[in-house]
């Protein structure tokens, strides 16, 4: 672990005074220490991070399991239960239709690749979410094995951006008013876990509630933080005893991350009020009320905007959590028609805003947006007008990322029940994402890459059509 005072031989508890502390701290940021620190980090990272590409992923996770039919596979030639209940809208490509609540996304089909043969074997929410978000490394979703794809990225990339200190893996959730929505949020949190990779690879969740956001904006001068940190390290050093090491290990790692983050100014990135009004409003979905028992304004737009700002500030894998897609038409959930109207519209607005904004900033080539959820929904309709869980065909669409877009990959059968072409599973998604984020060829010959992670990337082929 690199520390701020590590190279200052002048720091001697007998011979320093406050002025020395001040000067050292000031130099630390103004002249000597920070560049040195960065350089050290660069050197330390050189051995293993040359495989890191300047790429990013935004994973939009529709918790509850969005219908594959009413999103990107409306199947309008089929008879009633097997076709979209919300109708369909045309894209500019003849023959490619979207579900009826996605007119703006349909206009952006040229930036989209739809996967119509995505499936996995898990039909329960919590388990399916873990299974998908871990890219299949949690085979049955019991949360005993595996780790999220974001944590894997964090492990391979490094937990914090070397310059800004921004955690490389973030999860955007927020407390909901509706109990059911909170349950769904918690499931996504479990699915986003670092699991067997260790807790330092956990996602950073700045919008999880409380004062997490404002804590990231440094309230004192950077020099003063550096001095304080020097002081506490010196105090710890004087007292250091032969206590069992593991107790201390994580603490100092997190302390270092916190300092990096505060000094890197990454917190500014999270202040949405810095965004020009026109952009903010382009994203804003707060006029859509969502919920079942208790309603709240949709925050999807704000989350997407936050995701973009996080990527700009150095994050490389951001998961955006959305809840309410479990459209059974029962006590806790609306049916398909009303549900898609309620949640599909804000998604349409927010996601198309994100795609436009990324493109205008020249970030779309770099950023791959992944849209998926727990699973798809039954091709048949239950007696209340809902669709139930269906993992045999799931929702998956990819946007941008400099990959080949404007295509439909894979086929479903006539009744939207199962893949009619070679099925694509979470393992393939993991491999696709990792190939997008990393230069796997270089990774293979880099030292320090855990062999099990490399195997995960290589064991399954990435979705070939995207890399054509």
């Amino acid at each position: 672990m690199l520390t701020l005072h590590a190279n200052r031989s002048a720091l001697d508890c007998q011979g320093t005074n406050r002025r020395d502390f001040l000067r050292a701290g000031f130099l630390g940021l103004g002249g000597l220490t920070l560049p040195w620190l960065l350089e050290q980090k660069a050197l330390a990272a050189a051995g293993q991070s040359s495989y890191v590409k300047d790429k990013a992923v935004i994973m939009v996770f529709l918790g509850g399991g969005a219908s594959h039919i009413e999103t990107f596979n409306p199947n309008m030639d089929a008879p009633s239960p097997y076709r979209s209940m919300t109708g369909a809208v045309r894209t500019r490509t003849p023959g490619v239709l979207y579900g009826g609540t996605f007119p703006q996304l349909a206009d952006r089909f040229d930036k989209t690749s739809i996967i119509r043969s995505f499936r996995h074997p898990v039909g329960n929410h919590e388990q399916a979410i873990s299974h998908v978000l871990t890219g299949g490394t949690d085979p049955n979703g019991q949360a005993q094995l595996g780790f999220s794809m974001g944590s894997m990225y964090s492990r391979l990339r490094g937990t914090n951006h070397p310059e800004t200190g921004m955690p490389t893996y973030a999860l955007l959730t927020h407390p909901h008013s509706d109990g059911q929505y909170n349950t769904e949020k918690n499931r996504v949190t479990i699915g986003s876990r670092s699991g067997t990779l260790g807790s330092t690879m956990s996602p950073f969740n700045p919008t999880g509630g409380g004062t997490a956001l404002e804590n990231m904006l440094l309230h004192i001068s950077p020099e003063r933080l550096a001095q304080r940190r020097d002081l506490v390290q010196e105090m710890d050093r004087l007292r250091r005893r032969s206590e069992a090491r593991p107790v201390r290990e994580h603490l100092s790692e997190f302390e270092q991350q916190a300092v990096d983050l505060l000094l890197g100014g990454a917190g500014q990135a999270l202040d949405l009020t810095r965004e020009p009004r026109s952009i903010y409003e382009r994203y804003d979905t707060s006029r859509f009320q969502i919920g079942k028992k208790v309603f709240e304004p949709s925050q999807m737009g704000q989350q997407m905007l936050m995701a973009r700002r996080l990527i700009e500030a150095g994050a490389g894998f951001v998961t955006v959590q959305s809840a309410g897609w479990d459209m059974h038409a029962d006590n806790n959930n609306p049916g398909i028609e009303s549900g898609m109207e309620m949640l599909g519209r804000p998604l349409d607005k927010a996601l198309s805003a994100l795609l436009d904004d990324l493109e205008q900033r020249g970030m779309l080539e770099k950023t791959l947006v992944v849209l998926t959820g727990d699973f798809g929904r039954t091709p048949t309709i239950n007696r209340n007008g809902g669709r139930d869980h269906w993992a045999n065909l799931c929702t998956l669409a990819l946007f941008g990322g400099g990959l080949k877009m404007g295509q439909v990959i894979g086929q479903s059968d006539r009744q939207n029940r199962a893949p009619a072409s070679t099925p694509i599973g979470p393992h393939h998604l993991l491999s696709t994402i990792m190939h997008h984020l990393f230069d796997v060829g270089v990774m293979r010959v880099s030292r320090g890459v855990p062999s099990n992670l490399l195997r995960l990337v290589e064991d399954h082929r990435p979705i070939a059509e995207l890399f054509a």
Partner: protein, 844 residues
């Protein structure tokens, strides 16, 4: 030549076995090895003279082709008759074992329950994540872990018009083809073609898929070979499992059983029963499951150092821990110094830092004992332990409509009980048999939050019997002997709990709507029949204590009283142990059984004698909790230093040194307030109420949530988290809350709206307001006319309960004195640094 050599070898091997006892084969309760039936086999366990397992290193040779022995010592039957397996150990020593093989020519009918179902269990087909979950997987369901063979049989044979089985060509059956992956199978290729499991399934279909007869034997118990053993670190031990059947036959089921370690960091186990110890000393249990039976293999892993220096024996606890250390060769740390002890015991007993006065006055003879007694009698002790019990008793307002008075009253009742040291049996009796209205009889609040009969059953089992019964609600407990019958037997004790429903207020037309006021919870005892329905059998179950027989409870009596009577009777095997283990964990950081509320045969205590002794002491004292606590904190074991040595630093189970732990969320909050002289103000409680004293776990505080305060939404102690995380560090480093406490001034309002703020009607990201309260310590310091060293000495005593060492004093004195113009800033920095120092955040 060949003909001549074989008998020679045979004779030689037998002779070897007779002569040298150096190599031995564990037969367990079998007199000889008998393999009955096709595909029968047995795992040999070979042990050398030094009691080391050499099963995988030994060489095996057979005198004929009737059996095959693998390199790992697994003997498979091939042909009817006799065989002798000659075994040569790695050191050249020899032994032999005779094997008798029968029932190969005559194919005995397969028993579905005893043979086919274990295949599904072994390969995970009926696991909870696959076909075993309710509703099955892709339309094929099996009972979870094969606990309901009759159902499994019907699922396989009868469902989907019998398409799963194809008697005309057994290998072509869907069941077999899926399992082997010959046709696409989401679960993958589980069973290899022509493996024993494959042959068994095919043979079963060939035989016409028999289920078996009621006269067929059933498995009665498991025997693990060896049952326990002393192992070295980083060593391996093969284990074998024998199933004893009701007809007296014994069958080796090593390759069909499932294995699980209770402490994977100490010892792991493979699918074939090969145990591997890690780098840690201690003990571990390997749970073995076959059908509905469980058994355990226990291994003890000594460190093997010479233990010469032992701390003084203060009471029975030390005798038993020292016995363990000596047995394991694990040298313990020395006793901690007085200052460390003062801070440790005050944090653990009173949930706060020692005060300046306490730190200064901690001198004289017998001071540790006097301190313990004073703290045990203090209000702070009651506050702290009330917070602990209040969480697991789920004392919270779960909806805004709930009456806060009831929550406060229940909190007060718990506190009262702790303060006057109510015997624990009485505490449980008054809690569980509560009737009446919530504020008038406070423990009724437990029934307000724990409303349904399942939650009542499960909470009681977990809280007071240390048993997690949740699994048995829907299926047989996978790690325990408890079935649904046991679950609903316990449930039945709560079947007469009734809730008084308030009369419905008629809504008259034209009148303004009455606001809905939630009526107070009122618990009464109804006179319905005391029983619960077991959904599996659909039959009523009488109230039955765990492992007991059904009770006939006459109308007009409260079955709960019978339950409590059983729980608190001196021969109850669970009650006293559960509390003793909870108390132990609070002070020692790790339960003798871990997790502390999951006690079962397959998760044994790391020091069984000690747990028994603690439980006995607790029973003998008529359930005096405070006396038990006193024994624990008086022991040398609790008072060991946190300095580990190279020898014992890997120890996690045997308390050979005190493992530092982060302060509890509430304690840390209060400690920071104590240091910075901040008067807390939580919403809805009188100003000055400390975090430890909060009567309701739903009172909002970002700090407390962040640092892992339990939610009080379940009976599990595991809700409390001691983890360290990045947002915690950011909060301590840089929150307005901390800034105000340190600087004594209100910081600028958080998140000043900037000019570019969008004029949207809703706010940007939700930020809950936190109460930012300035602390007063900084002003006190500046007003103090004494010199810097005296002031720093005081700060050290307050924060760490000790005097600073010379170097520390020099460092800080210099830091604060050289720049008179920035005195305030310098002391702010010092306060900040203390809060963020390792010594402050942890209890050492």
């Amino acid at each position: 030549m060949l003909v001549r050599r074989l008998p020679v070898l045979f004779v030689f091997a037998l002779a070897g076995a007779l002569q040298a006892q150096s190599l031995s084969v564990e037969l367990g309760s079998r007199k000889s090895v008998h393999l009955a039936g096709r595909d029968a086999g047995t795992q040999l366990i070979v042990t050398d003279a030094k009691q080391r397992d050499v099963t995988h290193q030994a060489k095996y040779q057979t005198d004929n082709a009737n059996v095959h022995v693998s390199e790992t010592g697994y003997v498979s039957a091939l042909a009817e008759g006799q065989a002798t397996v000659a075994i040569t150990g790695p050191d050249g020593s020899k032994t032999a074992v005779a094997v008798q093989i029968t029932d190969i020519v005559r194919d005995v009918p397969i028993n579905f329950t005893n043979e086919v179902v274990p295949v599904f269990t072994r390969f995970g087909c009926n696991a909870g994540g696959c076909h075993g979950k309710s509703g099955g997987q892709n339309h094929f369901s099996l009972s979870l872990l094969g606990f309901e063979p009759q159902e499994d049989y019907e699922f396989i044979i009868k469902e989907t018009r019998g398409r799963r089985i194809f008697p005309a060509a057994p290998e072509q059956s869907v069941l077999v083809q899926k399992a082997t992956g010959l046709i696409p199978h989401g679960g993958g290729n589980k069973i290899a073609v022509d493996s024993p499991a494959y042959r068994l399934m095919v043979r079963w279909i060939e035989q016409g898929t028999p289920f078996g007869t009621p006269a067929d034997p059933v498995v009665q118990k498991l025997e693990v070979l060896p049952s326990d053993r002393l192992l070295q670190r980083n060593a391996k031990q093969q284990i074998a499992v024998l199933a004893h059947f009701s007809d007296g036959s014994i069958r080796d089921v090593t390759s069909w059983a499932q294995y699980e370690s209770n402490d994977g960091e100490t010892a792991g186990v493979s699918e074939s029963g090969l145990v591997s110890t890690r780098d840690r000393p201690g003990s571990a249990a390997i749970m073995v499951r076959y059908q509905d039976q469980v058994a355990a293999f226990r291994c003890t892993i000594p460190l093997g150092h010479e233990v010469t220096k032992l701390p003084p024996v203060r009471n029975f606890i030390d005798t038993l821990t020292q016995k363990q250390w000596t047995k394991l060769g694990l040298p313990p740390a020395e006793l901690c110094d007085d200052a460390t002890f003062l801070r440790r015991v005050t944090l653990d007993l009173a949930g706060r830092l020692p005060t300046l006065e306490e730190a200064q006055a901690f001198t004289g003879d017998d001071k540790r004992t006097r301190l313990i007694d004073r703290l045990l009698a203090s209000d702070d002790f009651a506050d702290f332990f009330t917070a602990k019990w209040s969480a697991v008793l789920r004392n919270r307002k779960s909806s805004p409509k709930d009456d806060a008075k009831a929550t406060i009253a229940f909190h007060g009742w718990i506190r009262d009980a702790i303060q006057k040291n109510m015997p624990f049996d009485q505490f449980v009796r008054e809690l569980l048999t509560a009737t009446g209205e919530e504020v008038a009889n406070p423990p009724v609040a437990w029934y307000r939050e724990v409303k349904d009969i399942h939650a009542q059953t499960e909470d009681v089992a977990q809280l007071f019997l240390g048993t997690r019964l949740q699994c048995a609600r829907c299926h047989h407990h996978p790690l325990e002997k408890w079935s649904q019958q046991d679950y609903y037997g316990l449930s039945a004790f709560f079947s007469r709990v009734g809730y008084k429903t308030p009369p419905k207020v008629e809504q008259k037309k034209g009148q303004p709507k009455q606001p809905i006021v939630k009526q107070p919870t009122h618990v009464l005892v109804t006179d319905v029949e005391a029983s619960a329905i077991n959904p599996r059998t659909n039959l009523a179950v009488q109230p039955t204590v765990l492992g007991g027989v059904g009770l006939d409870i006459p109308t007009g009596t409260d079955p709960r009283a019978e339950l409590v009577k059983w729980m608190t009777s001196p021969d109850n095997p669970y009650f006293a142990k559960t509390l003793a283990n909870r108390v132990w964990k609070h002070f020692m950081g790790r339960g003798l059984v871990e997790p502390e509320d999951d006690m079962r045969a397959t998760n044994p205590p790391t020091n069984p004698e000690l747990l028994d002794a603690l439980a006995k002491r607790f029973k003998d004292s008529k359930y005096d909790v405070r006396a038990l606590i006193r024994d624990v904190v008086l022991s040398s074991t609790y008072q060991l230093s946190s300095d580990s040595s190279e020898e014992n630093e890997n120890d996690r189970q045997n308390y050979s040194y005190f493992r530092p732990r982060r302060l509890h969320a509430e304690v840390l909050f209060d400690a920071i307030d104590q240091l910075t002289l901040t008067k807390p103000a939580f919403p809805g409680v009188p100003a000055g109420t400390r975090a430890v004293q909060l009567p309701d776990h739903s009172i909002e505080s970002y700090f407390l949530t962040l640092f892992g305060r339990p939610d009080a939404s379940s009976a599990c102690e595991c809700e409390r988290s001691f983890e360290v995380s990045l947002p915690q560090m950011l909060h301590l480093f840089n929150s307005y809350e901390m800034q105000a406490k340190v600087t004594g001034t209100m910081p600028k309002p958080p998140m000043q709206p900037s000019k570019t703020e969008p004029k949207s009607k809703t706010k940007a990201p939700v930020i809950q307001p936190t109460r930012v309260i300035p602390g007063d310590r900084i002003n006190k310091i500046l007003a103090d006319k004494r010199g810097a060293p005296e002031k720093i000495r005081d700060l050290y005593l307050i924060a760490y309960g000790r005097e600073p060492i010379e170097k520390e004093l020099a460092l800080l004195t210099k830091y604060v004195t050289r720049e008179p113009a920035e005195l305030r800033a310098a002391y702010e920095d010092v306060l900040w640094a203390i809060i963020n120092s390792e010594e402050f955040l942890f209890n050492h």
